[in-house]
């Protein structure tokens, strides 16, 4: 196998395994330098010419397997992906819900003053409430999704894992899909969360999450393939 094909094969295997592009690029540069030097030295010794990879002992598949195995042993997140896949979605969702709840509460308290008694809200405040309740509800899936992306990137696994993780994340988000209720009476403000499951919004979140996961999976696969072809 010539050097270029050999390197391309290693690169393709590493990318398919989900290793970071930066790491793959640097490793391939190193291997390319290694192969060049090996070929030069062999040519000097035995008058062998051409781009054959003479001293690279392992096949590209063997070398990539060892590189991937070694890479995945480094770091906590890379070592326990199945555990992450099963256990993390729920805490991540709870955390994201907490962030949403906390931010919304602070925001609402800035507008509602229960000590003043019932009051007429101006239109812009009502519109803002709607944004908080309905558009803002996307914050939880968004935060959960971003967390899922960040975690799966750290896991260095094929993107199928990321898609599965994201889908589970969406399921957890839908399960805990929340709606906020606000009650202002007798000088106190109560902001509480109610589960949407199994109502329409929860199911919609689940379906949209799965759709986004599939779309992301296809988009990333395509990007990686394009990058491979360009380089």
């Amino acid at each position: 196998m010539d050097k270029a094909a050999w390197i391309r094969c290693v690169k393709s295997s590493l990318l398919k395994a989900g290793l970071p592009i930066r790491y793959v690029t640097r490793t391939c540069l190193e291997l390319s330098d290694h192969a060049e030097e090996s070929a030069e030295e062999s040519a000097e010794e035995s008058n062998v010419t051409g781009g054959e990879v003479l001293l690279l002992g392992e096949s590209p598949q063997e070398l990539s397997t060892q590189l991937v195995r070694s890479f995945r042993k480094q770091g906590f997140l890379r070592r326990i992906p199945p555990v992450l896949l099963l256990l993390l979605p729920l805490p991540v969702t709870i955390l994201a819900t907490g962030v949403y709840f906390g931010l919304s509460r602070v925001f609402l308290e800035a507008f509602i003053h229960p000590e003043k008694g019932p009051e007429e809200f101006p239109l812009h405040v009502i519109i803002t409430f709607w944004i908080v309740f309905y558009v803002g509800r996307m914050v939880v899936p968004l935060l959960s999704g971003l967390a899922a992306c960040a975690i799966t990137q750290r896991m260095s696994r094929p993107w199928g894992w990321a898609a599965a993780f994201f889908a589970l994340q969406c399921w957890a988000t839908a399960l805990l899909g929340t709606s906020m209720s606000v009650a202002a009476s007798e000088g106190s403000l109560t902001v509480s969360l109610e589960s949407l499951w199994p109502h329409l919004m929860g199911s919609a979140q689940l379906l949209s999450g799965v759709a986004i996961a599939l779309f992301g999976f296809l988009a990333v696969s395509r990007l990686r393939l394009e990058q491979l072809q360009v380089e």
């Binding site: 330098d33 392992e58 590189l67 195995r69």
Partner: protein, 120 residues
């Protein structure tokens, strides 16, 4: 097809020790490391790229090696060097290695020393 000579299974951990030692003497790139191991052990130990590069990358990730990227003959080259943390690891590993080799040598040189024959 000629079968390649493989290193014995008990050599796990040896490449790391050799890498840290060789790179503490002089900074080298991957190919030079592979050659240096073979040359400095008179060809007795040969480790392929599949062994060397993963270890180099891991040691770099652990902060025991540092790298410098440069250009050589128009090619990008990554040169490794042992860090202080790597030197500390090297000292510990070397000490362990000496204790183990001494222990194994003792067994081989005095096979009946301290052993009782089993009857039964």
């Amino acid at each position: 097809m000629a079968r390649r000579k493989t290193n014995p299974d008990f050599l796990t951990g040896i490449p790391e020790l050799l890498l840290l030692q060789l790179l503490s003497r002089t900074p080298m790139h991957g190919y030079a490391v592979v050659q240096a191991i073979s040359a400095s052990t008179a060809g007795e130990l040969k480790f392929g790229e599949g062994s060397i590069y993963p270890i180099l990358h891991r040691l770099e990730g652990e902060g025991k090696l540092t790298t410098k990227c440069g250009e050589h003959n128009g090619r990008q080259r990554v040169v490794y060097r042992t860090t202080k943390k790597g030197l500390k690891q090297l000292a510990e590993s070397h000490s362990t290695w000496q204790r183990i080799t001494n222990a194994v040598t003792t067994v081989f040189e005095a096979p009946n020393n301290g052993l009782r024959e089993s009857h039964g």
